[in-house]
Symmetry: D2
Subunit: 350 residues, 4 copies
């Protein structure tokens, strides 16, 4: 069976390079187009890109010529690692032209008819695709994955939402520098330091969970009704977003019940058949000092959530720590998994 | 007027070195004795110590001979930088023998008759000294300063307690490596990493505030009645503890009122006359990305609190970030300021 | 064909854990014994070890019971990650008892009858094994791999030695913290800092190369005759030793000839058949800012050398930068490759 | 006596901020003008600058209005923290207009008639000022201070040049991130990493020493005649450039003689009277692990050289490590000291 042709928008950037790395040997997808900044257009990808990941540029992609980000690519699906402003302008052009856009960018995440999708959490939200196409008259569509730091909290919270209900969620994050792209955070700002600010991040952390953990019915995602508070911090860690999460539950639970709910979670059958799905998607650690970015970011090829330190919260009910790899689960790998889900669901034709 | 003779217990350790640095040219105190580990006893302090602070060992102290930590020192006041186990055993021996012990160690902090003192916050708690001496029949006494990370929250919370009342306090800390002493945190654990665990710290953060912000009356400190939740994290920062604090108030306040309360605070007259009191003890920053450890730990010679990012909390009422220098305000300098207060209050005779 | 039984001495330590990780699925070797410190003896390895590497303890090894480090193990070969003092005492006991000891420790490296082996550089030095057994009347033997930082320079220098001859080698190293084991370097010493000292390292860097690049003949390794100068520095890098190397050649060469010699090197046939041999063992980078620890330490599964920045040296003849992964190529993987070589050479019987 | 009016060119940049900090309370100089980028022109300096140093913007300077960098400032001397391209174009305009330009920029350093001045090393090179004015018909003049990393080696080498003569100097540097200004080095490049490349630095390190250690006679600085080799590395250190230096001497010396020469050096009388001259300008450490950036960069208010680890070099004659604070001694403070020297020498009129 032939592979699905995919393009990577903004392929020379930080997220774009991850897309290239992940898709280079994908069993269902084949990179047939890459786009980049004016400086790189017309050059071989392998020459235009300043590769910052381990290993070499995948050989097949290295030979592709970088194109302008215009909807005339030889591809069916496009993965977007575009910066916000460009994404806002260009992604609808691609959707109009019939491309299936899986975006890592933020502008369309909170649009009522755009699925904000995490396969393990809200796979049914993809139904918004039909609404979106009807609304906008698009041949293609846009689906988005969540902010990298929002993602960290989503599977654990979904599990507790199902088990106990959520009344309030309080998050303080410790986020890695790779989340800001390249050059991103200046070393003079972060070496031996912490910065209690990431532009726009608190807002995303306080809005996206309500959509992702909302319920789909009749063409609409009904926002979840818990309260949220978030404070994002940048720490001198390369990869891996850690989050300290306190939760008020609708139906109070003990620490043991909270842990048991995590441990009882199993990968849904639909997810298990996705080619990128690893053996483990939720790692529950018992040690008092885990999760840690360096030790836990790579579980499940960087797709797994790691949780630990479930404890009573003296102010709300329970608290815990969660960690995900921000450029894999929280960005490129998450997008690829989304696309795989859409294939299984039939939104992307094989 | 002659100076008050003081000794430093555990003078070769991390906190002990800070005591030596701070007291070397103190207008009221004069270091007349230093104690250290068996390895260093009998040697000149300047030769026995592995000095890890900027500059050289102060010349006068370098010439002192390191003594065993036994209550036969030529001193009236002793500042203790002893490790926990030694502090537990030895500090009462000093108090029994008539020494005034100002300790940075934790064992006696939560004893009912031991003042847990921060001059700007609860100077009246020193009245417990009289109770302690009566209870225990000591000629001397023990007073303690708070855990370095507890300290970070205390002045800001005291101000809001006075202004609005406190119902609940939720703290997530980002703590510097120097808080663990030397050798302390292994570099393989913390370089490019975060560790969501500091042994015993969450407990201290959840108990000490209730005593410090409690009220003294009739020989007893009545514990404050707000709820507390704390999660301590170690981050790769050299000095400076940062804390993300969310608060439920008895009497709700706007962000503007919260900031106004901070800005209205003035150094009490009694504190202003202490020789270590700097011009600023509370720095209120308006920028969205402050306080930061590297930029804000040194205000007021490392004695000042820096607060910023006062904002509405979606779960409780208000939130903010606070920062203090953990080995200065949170340890040695805090102890010295305590001793200065006791001089002014008459508990230490000049 | 059945696998060769191997034991890991000091299996709970930093290097020991790497041995366990590397040997867990080895095609020729099977871990049948692990030894550890008194604290861990008698416990399951999976419970006694504080695992600091990515992923989990390999399942098969996790079930082994940790034994004392005594020569009564059910194994033919032992890989030693013992600390220096223990290695000095215990390794000869194992060799006497007939074990083939592949050690990462330093005590026996410079003994005249102990091969200091790097398969790509001096595979013929294994002939010392026969001398050693005759001399000492041992049934087993000891072979050593080089200091991790010495290793960084060895393949590149061997190539230039062959091509141009060496008169003098000047090395300044920038070494990773993992080279000191755990807990090793205190974070207060190295965070945001550089320490121009690693105990004993300069001496190893100045002596080991002369043996490794010496020539074997008639039962003796004749020391190479070039001059060496070394200055070791510790830098806040997790893994990967970088070295700035200037060389005076016997027969002067241009930069282009120096690069050409590196690029012409091919993996020897004997090495190519070793199961751990990767596709690439020498990576030559052309960029002006490579090699870098983070980007280049993992080539060839951490077994490859990366060189770059070949340039004229204004004082000697040519200079270049070299990098290897210190706990893989420079320690555990290097030892395993040595053992594989000995299997091919017949010193270890299958 | 009234103060000399000085301007700071590029006052909002990294070096510019240091100039402002150092000159705010200078006994001889008074900041009367600051220039900045288009974004900041017309604003109060205190509002336009993004202050990255400890403490607040000095009050008096905060009130100055940022001006364009044009030679119509109310000042006699200008300190230039301009980027290279702007310095190249604008500094001659200032000199033509009669300003005395003390620059930290590189474009004019190697011009034959521009003094490349370090007061402790080559104070007589200021005589080039007269040549320069004659040659160019300028009312003002330009003097330059050396590259921050060149500076690290200069005083120690001058001492050995005087004592033993220099035949060859081999330098490998470990340089701090602040040397690249702000935003400068991306955190993704340097966190937990080392970069063996700083654009143009090796060339500066190999050319500037020959001019600085050259001899002035008859209107010309005759270049020193030793050979130089340099390799610059960037390390994750905030401030402080460390250098590993090996030297071939004209007249061989023992380690003891090398150390003795350092220890015998005394601050010249002319330097001692400069207001910024600290008590110590050369710190000689005996410990095997010094100098270190964190512990040694601040001696003498950041103006002192620290040397240590004098040892035999197996390839050349002697080697040692040297360290200076790159933004103080190596940049702003060095420029201010230069200006003070010129006041004493009469090139700047009081």
């Amino acid at each position: 069976m032939s592979k699905i042709k995919v393009g990577v928008l903004g392929a020379t950037g930080t997220v774009g390079q991850r897309f290239v790395q992940l898709l280079a040997n994908h069993p269902w997808f084949e990179i047939t187009a890459v786009t980049g900044s004016p400086r790189t257009i017309g050059r071989k990808y392998g020459e235009g890109v300043e590769w910052r990941l381990d290993g070499d540029v995948p050989a097949a992609v290295a030979e592709l010529t970088v194109q302008a980000t215009e909807p005339n690519l030889d591809a069916q699906v496009v993965f977007s690692g575009l910066p916000s402003a460009e994404a806002r302008e260009l992604e609808p052009q691609f959707a109009t032209a019939g491309y299936y856009v899986c975006t890592n960018a933020s502008p369309y995440r909170m649009m009522r008819d755009v699925p904000l999708l995490i396969p393990e959490v809200n796979p049914d939200h993809s139904a918004l695709i039909d609404v979106q196409r009807r609304n906008r008259g698009w041949d293609g569509f846009i689906i988005a994955n969540a902010n990298c730091s929002t993602t960290t909290a989503m599977l654990p919270l979904k599990i507790w939402q199902n088990a106990f209900g959520l009344e309030a969620v309080h998050m303080v994050t410790l986020q890695a520098i790779s989340g800001a792209g390249y050059p991103g955070v200046a070393s003079m700002d972060i070496l031996g330091n912490v910065v209690p600010y990431i532009g726009g991040e608190d807002g995303k952390l306080e809005s996206e969970p309500l959509k992702i953990l909302g319920s789909y019915a009749d063409g609409v995602v009904h926002s979840a009704d818990f309260r949220v508070s978030a404070q994002a911090n940048r720490v001198p860690v390369f990869d891996g977003h850690l989050s300290s999460i306190s939760v008020k539950l609708k139906q109070p639970a003990t620490v043991e019940e909270g842990i048991a709910a995590f441990k009882a979670w199993q990968i849904p059958e639909q997810i298990r058949q996705l080619p990128s799905c690893p053996d483990q998607l939720l790692v529950v650690r018992d040690e008092p000092d885990r999760p840690q970015p360096r030790l836990d970011r790579n579980w499940g090829d960087g797709l797994a959530w790691t949780v630990g330190k479930v404890a009573n919260c003296g102010v709300l009910d329970l608290k815990f720590m969660a960690l995900t790899h921000n450029t894999l689960r929280g960005a490129a790998s998450g997008s690829v998994l989304n696309a795989e889900l859409l294939v299984v669901q039939g939104y992307i034709e094989r």
